[in-house]
Symmetry: C2
Subunit: 186 residues, 2 copies
């Protein structure tokens, strides 16, 4: 049997079950509002969104690997491209540009071309410290951890804070290549 | 110019922006888990999910009316059919069967043929009183209120509680036909 070719983000996105993006956006907005009410401190909300994203990422990676037919990436550079062009496309329907590599090839930025999380969102004055999209950086951190890459993912540009784009910095802290990363089905 | 024909739920769903259903499901699961942690009482979580849904519904109705070209429904029976065949399809990608009408034509059930909210979900023993999908009944209640129908929407069958289907009862409490329902853009 010939090997199964990796599928493009577009092809996968077209084939998976989907829900209306506005419903997702409003549902996510409802979470953030709820956390702001319950936790009060914006810093705590940032942490909680990141943690929720992490918990989602460690589950989503399974669907990603099952549906994308992506082979193990040879290095972090390839990994970043796969997230930008296949992973984000498959789940959010958008892509990102990979840029701002450091000389070691362990830190780069993902610049989002579109961000369905923030449609209709404006931050009130008392939420200026909020990283509204922290769930997304958490998802990437969680998903990468399940394929043996410990990373730090931080927002360095955020249009909700007045920047001209959404830019996440992904920093590879540690890679454990020999360990087989999949968890048993839970 | 000929009048614009109403569009089928399938056609609308195919044309709107969408995100991956598993991402939505896991994100919704993360909300419920968060609420269970923060609020402790299952009854409070039920109320909060309903309220979140209501807040989403009063927003989503605008997209529904804008995209569906559905004309004002002549009665509650037609409204129920439109929710079941167009609204649910447009947002969740599923449809429902309308059944169990009372003799006055003011109470019916929506029986869901599929429910993307509950994929991978099992309720732990200490959450047996949880109405996990209460956000959905809240959405319908909120959306209907914006078209002048005050309703009560309750789950009467829930597969997470061991029933053989998901069934929401929608009860029309009051209809205010003369009032124009749209809010100004916020």
């Amino acid at each position: 049997m010939p090997p199964v070719a990796p599928r493009s983000g577009d092809a996968i996105f077209a084939s998976v079950e989907r829900v209306n993006a506005e419903l997702f956006t409003l549902t996510y907005g409802a979470i953030v509002r709820q956390l702001l009410t319950d936790l009060e401190e914006v810093e705590e909300v940032n942490k909680q969104l990141d943690q929720m994203g992490y918990n989602i990422g460690i589950r989503l990676i399974d669907e990603f690997l099952a549906k994308s037919n992506v082979a193990r990436c040879v290095d972090f550079k390839e990994t970043a491209e796969v997230i930008a062009k296949v992973g984000l496309k498959m789940f959010l329907g958008v892509t990102a540009t990979v840029t701002n590599w450091d000389t070691e090839g362990t830190t780069c930025s993902l610049v989002l071309e579109d961000n369905p999380l923030v449609d209709f969102v404006e931050l009130p004055d008392n939420c200026q410290g909020l990283y509204y999209c922290n769930i997304l950086s958490g998802v990437i951190r969680g998903a990468l951890e399940m394929v043996s890459m410990k990373t730090e993912v931080t927002w360095i540009r955020d249009m909700l804070r007045g920047d001209d784009a959404f830019e996440m910095q992904v920093k590879l802290l540690k890679q454990v290549p020999e360990e087989y990363p999949y968890k048993d089905d839970e």
